[in-house]
């Protein structure tokens, strides 16, 4: 749908998961890889059989003390996942608490709808705070509007009351929802980032998926010779192009560079890893590998052109397939590969950015806070994860929620992102500054747009990035965070 994308495209930032600082999907990595793919079949358990016996001090059936008489007010961002999945959760909630009245709202203009309600002290009880108009989590948190979700993490799981909810989530989910030491948002949707292509087109032309940047450049030359543009990006929103760039930086520089950048250290952007990566990305522009005009296109416009075969590769997160469902021609065979490696990379080529997106929050001033927490607990059950997979055609952060039947029905792009995720085998890229410092991210995006439009050179970009970081570091009105050291 190239032509018309107005608010659609604005709000396309949508799942833009951007908000979510990527978490390091560290820790028990191997275990979670299985969780994401075809899970073991134990997902029969459901919401209302929980804690059949235990009804003691802290009732595992109702750890937050929900009163069915209190109405529950739910607001979800209605983006690529629609809102049917939320209605399914609401049905589960009313099943557990018969008689509870649940009101369901959905929309795209989160800020317009909810900012006044936060101000007035009458926010909904649970919110999926996503999309272009999302209320920024750092701002909400700074104003004391968010409920600490650690109590959710420490509550018993619905499926197995002997386990805590925190043990039923994919690794990294908790870190991604943290601001400081506590978790304030449950980032529910699992997303993988990479470079997307049409497997059938690659096969037809006998193009190989590149693993090194040099291979990629060679491939680009080959593609360009056929008359197809090698690379497209969603230029109107420079966020998209920052993802591959920062992924290269992470791979090339490793944890030290990431820590320096996330912590806004002086001269962090002068590191060799940054220079190498920016130069590499700039090659795409410099050598004319970009789809003409792509630097001004919206996500819808550019992705549609990519679907039409005008460009071979486009960077995006795994929401891409769902978003382009109607625009994708039959037999396109959508697939994704990880950022090619540069010489001297400190992370393997298979490392990918994988993050939990779509932050769900419970406002601290919610009337029915217990209900909101319980709603999230239901989402974290296997039945919740399975229901989400069926209703939203996407993966959630709930471990072992996907039955083989569900996994068999996955679309090619989703399957491919699963493969990518598994191949990474614990090596996941995470950036935090995105979520912590809105203005800094905006400054980076401005500079990126100019680099991609060939208006500035790599050295200028690096200078601008560094001075934006310095400006942010010096701004006393911005609350500062430190990158967790345990992450890779």
């Amino acid at each position: 749908m190239s032509e018309h994308g107005l608010p659609a495209d604005v709000s396309r930032r949508q799942m833009l998961v951007r908000s979510a600082a990527i978490a390091a999907m560290v820790g028990p990595g191997s275990a979670l890889a299985a969780g994401c793919a075809a899970g073991s079949g134990s997902s029969k358990s459901n919401t209302n059989n929980s804690g059949s016996t235990a009804a003691n001090a802290s009732d595992p059936k109702n750890p937050f003390g929900v009163k069915a008489s209190n109405p529950l007010d739910v607001y979800v961002f209605k983006g690529g996942y629609g809102d049917n999945y939320a209605k399914a959760f609401e049905a589960m909630y009313t099943k557990d608490f018969p008689g509870a009245s649940v009101s369901h709202h959905s929309g795209q203009n989160l800020t317009g709808d909810l900012q006044p309600r936060f101000n007035a002290g009458t926010p909904p009880d649970v919110i999926d705070d996503s999309g272009a108009q999302q209320l920024k989590l750092d701002v909400l948190h700074g104003s004391g509007q968010l409920t600490n979700l650690d109590q959710l993490l420490n509550a018993p799981s619905i499926d197995d009351p002997s386990k805590k909810v925190r043990d039923t989530l994919l690794a990294g989910t908790i870190e991604q929802g943290q601001l400081g030491a506590n978790m304030f948002s449950l980032n529910y949707v699992f997303t993988v980032f990479g470079l997307w292509y049409s497997a059938s087109t690659f096969k037809k032309n006998n193009w190989q998926v590149p693993t090194t940047w040099d291979d990629f450049m060679t491939l680009c030359a080959t593609i360009k010779a056929t008359g197809m543009a090698p690379f497209a990006h969603q230029g109107k929103y420079p966020y998209y192009m920052l993802v591959p760039l920062m992924d290269m930086v992470a791979k090339n520089g490793g944890p030290d560079v990431q820590t320096a950048i996330d912590n806004l250290e002086p001269n962090a952007w002068k590191a060799d890893a940054v220079v190498n990566s920016v130069n590499a990305i700039y090659e795409l522009v410099d050598k004319g590998y970009m789809l003409p005009g792509t630097e001004g296109l919206t996500h819808i416009q550019s992705q549609t052109l990519w679907n039409q075969g005008k460009a071979a590769v486009i960077p995006c997160g795994s929401w891409l397939e769902n978003e382009q469902l109607t625009a994708t021609p039959p037999g396109f065979d959508m697939a994704v590969f990880a950022m090619p490696s540069l010489a001297g990379d400190k992370m393997p080529q298979t490392a990918v950015r994988a993050e939990a997106g779509e932050p769900f929050i419970v406002p601290s001033k919610a009337k029915n806070q217990a209900g909101g927490l319980e709603f999230l607990r239901i989402m974290c059950s296997k039945a919740g994860g399975a229901s989400f997979a069926q209703n939203a055609n996407s993966l959630s952060v709930v471990k072992d929620a996907i039955t083989p039947e569900i996994s068999a029905k996955l679309l090619p792009g989703t399957k491919s992102s699963n493969d990518l995720y598994q191949a990474a085998n614990g090596q996941y890229i995470a950036w935090y500054y995105l979520n912590w410092y809105s203005q800094f991210e905006k400054d980076l995006e401005d500079a990126m747009s100019q680099l991609m439009a060939n208006k500035i050179k790599p050295a200028d970009f690096i200078n601008r990035a560094q001075s934006a970081a310095d400006k942010c570091a010096a701004d006393s009105s911005v609350q500062k965070f430190k990158r967790p050291t345990s992450t890779s």
Binding site: A8, S11, G82, Q108, N119, L325
Partner: protein
């Protein structure tokens, strides 16, 4: 101004300081003793330019209407393509995704808000225009300065205000807000209009024993009809297309269904289309939203013009 007139009407044929014509061509007064001849170039150029301008306007409008008849892949392709089969499916889809409700709600609100705007606006403008009293200028400027306030700036305080009155997501709340925000424009134009009306009839009515109120409703308002119609039309257009105010004020607060206004619903439809891809329905929705106001304008455009004459800053 009198000086301007004497200088500009008779007696200055072909004065040397004539500002260059639009084309930079010097008029040649000796040869052009007649209106028609002098402007042949101007005429051709002018008409041509106006034709191009008309195309620039009609083209996009047509594109929207045609878009409603295309299918998704046709919309995907060239902007110049023509729909292959004329089906109204998109209209019915748009209608059922909520356009019908938006339309109903918008009409309900507008019927009251425009009438009330006109009534209150006319009352205030009339009193300010025809009576001397202390504070007159102050109140007039208080109203008129509202023209210069950007709406988006007051949104959050406005929300609290409406919330305190328990009028969020209610027709009456939105109606009052529309009336309030239409006041500056309405008072401003009608004020000018009332000043131009002759006072003889009014005074005669008063002498006959009519009260001020009666004289206003029975004498002045009918005389002001042209002004009322044109300002009314502009209020209809403005309120019909209003977007920011309903977005903030017409949200469901406690689970009751929200009363979306048309342009608000249209945007929500548009955003939803961005995710579900039914663009023809979006175009159909836009067409539906366009038609009523266009019809209103077409039927009243003569009166609109007639009424605007007096509406200038005094």
């Amino acid at each position: 101004m009198a000086a301007d007139m004497t200088q500009s009407t008779p007696g200055t044929p072909g004065s040397a300081d004539t500002p260059g014509s639009a084309k930079g061509k010097r008029p040649r007064p000796e040869r052009s003793r007649r209106f028609g001849e002098s402007g042949a170039t101007l005429n051709v150029f002018g008409t041509g330019f106006m034709a191009i301008w008309a195309i620039m306007i009609l083209g996009p409008v047509l594109w929207v209407v045609l878009g409603a008849f295309k299918n998704a892949s046709e919309l995907n392709g060239s902007a110049w393509s023509w729909p292959h089969h004329w089906s109204f499916g998109a209209f019915s889809r748009a209608w059922h995704t909520g356009i019908s409700t938006y339309l109903k709600d918008t009409v309900i609100v507008l019927v009251f808000s425009v009438s009330l705007t006109m009534l209150l606006g006319a009352m205030a403008a009339y009193v300010l225009a025809r009576f001397e009293f202390r504070g007159n200028r102050f109140i007039y400027y208080l109203f008129v300065s509202g023209v210069m306030l950007p709406v988006y700036l007051a949104l959050v305080p406005l929300f609290f205000q409406v919330s305190k009155l328990h009028m969020l997501n209610t027709y009456q709340g939105l109606i009052l807000v529309y009336v309030a925000f239409s006041m500056p424009f309405t008072v401003f134009f009608l004020h000018a209009f009332f000043r131009t009306l002759p006072s003889a009839v009014y005074e005669a009515a008063l002498i006959d024993g009519a009260s001020h109120t009666r004289a206003f409703f029975q004498v002045m308002l009918p005389m002001a009809k042209p002004g009322l119609i044109s300002v009314g039309i502009f209020n209809i257009l403005g309120q019909w297309n209003q977007y920011l105010l309903p977005v903030v004020l017409m949200q469901s607060q406690h689970g009751e269904p929200p009363h979306y206004m048309l342009s608000q619903g249209l945007v929500s439809l548009m955003v939803a289309q961005g995710y579900s891809g039914d663009f023809p329905a979006l175009f159909a929705g836009m067409t539906i939203a366009m038609l009523p106001v266009m019809a209103v304008y077409l039927s009243f455009q003569r009166q609109v013009q007639a009424g605007l004459t007096a509406g200038t800053l005094k």
